[in-house]
Symmetry: C2
Subunit: 340 residues, 2 copies
DNA sequence: CATTGGCACTCGCGCCCAGGGAGTGCCAGT
DNA sequence: ACTGGCACTCCCTGGGCGCGAGTGCCAATG
C-alpha cells in the first residue's frame, strides 16, 4: 500500500468527522463545501484512492462514502488529536462520581453509570480479577439462628459480603472464634492463594480435632472459593436504542445478546487489562459477531496493591472518538486514584 | 350492552386463543375450520356483534379481527379457565428457585429471573415497603480506620447492609457499644417508626451528653432513614425483543423507557399489593402511556410478620394468560412460603 | 501537472398503478 | 337460524418510472 499524502489524510479525517455527526455516507460536495478548500472533483479523486486502499467504502454506486473499520483505525491511530477534557468537564464528572459514592452506591456501578451518562453509550466496568485481590480480613456476623453474614475485606474499595446458612446455631462468640481461625490462615494472601492455604490447613492435625476450626475453613471456601470470573458491570444498555444505527432491529438484538451473555465482552476487557493507556477496538477487529459496527473503548485502572481492572464504553463505530477516548481515560484515572 | 350468548363467548374465546399463538388478526374461515363447528358466514355475523360491542377490532376492512383490551378483559374475567400448573412444572420451578438461593443469590432477584425464564416475559419484583418492615437488630462492623458496615436485620429474608464512612476511627468496642445503643431505641419497631424514635431519643438528656450515643443514632438515620421507595427489580427486559409486537421500534422504546424509569410501574405494582390473588391489568386500563399493548400480571406475596410485596410479569397484551396467571400466583406463593 | 468544470452514468428511493388475495357484509335460499 | 354465494373493500406485492444524489472520466486550464 502506498503511503498517505497529507491530502489523503485531510480527506479521510473530514469523512470521519462528518460521518460521526451525520451517521450518513458523505459525498464529495459536502466535504468540499464544509471541510476542505478543494473542488468536489478533486475530492472525488482522493476518495477514489482511499477506497482502493480499503479505508473508505461505498454502500452503492450513487452513494457517498463511509469509513471502513480500517479507516477508523487509521483515523484513531494517526489522525486524531484527542483534546483533553476541559477543567470544567473534569470537575463536573468528578463531582458526579463522588456525590454518588457518598450516597452509598457501589463504586463500580457508579463508574459505569458515569461513563454511560456522559458518553450516551453503554458503560462497562470490569472489577479486578478476584484471584489477585489481597485479603485483609474476614468477619463473621451472626444474623439469626442458622444464618450468618461473612464479610470479606480486601485492599479493594468494594467490600464483599454474603449471607450463608450455618450448619448449627453458633453463638456470637463461636463466630468470632471462627473468624479468628479463618484470618489466621488467610489474611495477607490473595484470594487465589486462599483456596490452597485453606486446603492445606484442613489436613493439619490441629484442624482434624477442632470441629469449629474445620467448620470455619469450610465456610470460607464455600462463600468465596468459587467466585471465578471477575464481575462485569454493563450499565445502561438501553441507551443503544437512541443511536440511529440500531434502527436495524437485527443488529440491535445481536448486540444485546452478546451484552447479556457477558462472557465475550468480558474476555475482550480482560485482554486489555495489561496494556497502558486507552485501548480502542474497532468493529471486526474483535472477531465477536455481535460487535460488527461497534467499537469498544477501554482503559485499565488499578485498585489496591496492584490488582487491575478495566473500564470502558461500547457504542457504534461511528462515535465521537475525540470526546470519548479522554473520557474513558479520565474515569479510569478517577477509579485508580479513588481512596476509600 | 346486551348480554353475551353462549355462542358469542365461544367465538371470543376462539379469537383470543388463536390470536395469542399467531399474533395476527383472526378471520372467520380460520375460526370455522380450527375452533368452531359453524360456517364462516355464521362466525362473521357473531364477530360483527362482538365488534359492535367493542370486544373485537378490525384493523382495516379486509383484515381479520383482533381482541380489544376490553375483549381481553372479558376473556380473562369470564372465559378463561386457568389450568393449574402440573405437579412436574411446580417441582421444576421450585427446584430452580431453591438451587439459585443456595448459590447465594438475592431472593428478590431470583424470583424475578424465574418468572422471566419461565414466561419469556419481563419479570418484576417489588420488595415490601421498607416502612412496614420490622427491625430485628442492627450490627456495626469495623472495616477499616474510618469505614464500617452497618447491617440491618429485619423479619424479611433480605438483609440490608451498607458501607459507611465514620467521622472518627472507632474501635470494635466502640462500634459494638454504638450498635447496642441503636438497638435499644430501635429494635422491635418498624422502619417507618424508626425515624421518629431516633429523633425523639436525640433530644433526650442521655444523648445530649453522650457523644457516642448521638453518633450512633445519627449513623442509623443516615444509613437507612432515606430509603424511601421499596426496591423494584426489573429482570430481563431484553426478552421483549423476542416478541413480534416489538418489531415496531417506537413502541419498544416507549416501553423500555417506562421500565427504566420505574416510578410508574412501581406505582402500578404498589396498587395491587392490597388485593388478594392474581391481578391482571390490561393495556390502556393502566393509563400509563408506555403500557399500550402490554399487560401487567401481578400477585401479592407476604414476607415476615405481615409486610407484603408484589411479583409479576409484563408482556404484550397477547400473552398466554392460561399459563402465565397460575405461574405468577405460584411464584408469589413460593416467595410467601419461603423461610430463611 | 495538479486542479477543475462538465457530463454521462449508475443506482437507490419514492411514487403510482394494477393484480391477487384475504376477509368482510349482505342477501336470498333452505 | 344457518349457510352458500357474491360483490365489495382494502392491504400487499411487484413492476415501471422519474428524480436526485453521487460518482468516474475527460478535456480544459492556470
Amino acid at each position: 500500500m502506498t503511503a498517505l499524502t497529507e491530502r489523503h489524510q485531510q480527506v479521510l479525517r473530514a469523512v470521519v468527522d462528518d460521518h460521526v455527526v451525520s451517521s450518513q455516507p458523505v459525498g464529495s460536495a459536502t466535504l468540499s463545501r464544509r471541510y476542505l478548500d478543494l473542488s468536489p472533483a478533486t475530492v472525488r479523486n482522493v476518495m477514489g484512492d482511499l477506497e482502493r486502499m480499503g479505508l473508505l467504502h461505498q454502500p452503492h454506486t450513487s452513494a457517498g462514502r463511509v469509513p471502513t473499520d480500517r479507516g477508523f483505525r487509521l483515523y484513531v491511530d494517526d489522525l486524531l488529536k484527542v483534546r483533553n477534557l476541559s477543567q470544567r468537564e473534569r470537575d463536573r464528572i468528578r463531582a458526579e462520581f463522588e456525590s454518588g459514592l457518598d450516597a452509598g452506591d457501589d463504586v463500580m456501578r457508579r463508574a459505569g453509570h458515569l461513563l454511560s451518562a456522559v458518553s450516551n453509550l453503554v458503560g462497562l466496568v470490569l472489577a479486578p480479577p478476584l484471584d489477585e485481590v489481597l485479603v485483609k480480613r474476614i468477619e463473621l456476623v451472626r444474623l439469626g439462628r442458622r444464618r450468618a453474614m461473612i464479610i470479606l475485606i480486601t485492599d479493594q474499595p468494594v467490600v464483599h459480603n454474603r449471607v450463608v446458612r450455618t450448619d448449627a446455631d453458633y453463638t456470637k462468640a463461636d463466630l468470632e472464634k471462627m473468624a479468628r481461625y479463618l484470618n489466621e490462615t488467610v489474611s495477607g494472601c490473595t484470594l487465589g492463594e486462599m483456596y490452597a492455604r485453606i486446603e492445606a490447613q484442613m489436613k493439619s492435625d490441629r484442624v482434624q480435632y477442632d470441629r469449629l476450626r474445620a467448620r470455619a475453613l469450610r465456610l470460607g471456601l464455600e462463600a468465596f472459593g468459587a467466585r471465578d470470573e471477575g464481575a462485569l458491570y454493563v450499565e445502561e444498555a438501553t441507551r443503544l436504542l437512541e443511536q440511529p444505527e440500531f434502527l436495524d432491529i437485527g443488529r440491535m438484538k445481536a448486540l444485546f445478546r452478546t451484552l447479556e451473555e457477558k462472557s465475550q465482552i468480558l474476555a475482550l476487557l480482560r485482554a486489555t487489562i495489561e496494556s497502558e493507556g486507552v485501548n480502542v477496538l474497532i468493529g471486526s477487529e474483535s472477531e465477536v459477531d455481535g460487535m460488527q459496527g461497534c467499537t469498544l473503548i477501554t482503559s485499565r485502572y488499578t485498585a489496591g496493591r496492584g490488582a487491575a481492572g478495566s473500564v470502558g464504553v461500547i457504542g457504534p463505530t461511528r462515535m465521537d472518538y475525540r470526546r470519548i477516548i479522554p473520557l474513558v481515560g479520565y474515569v479510569a484515572n478517577l477509579l485508580s486514584r479513588h481512596r476509600y
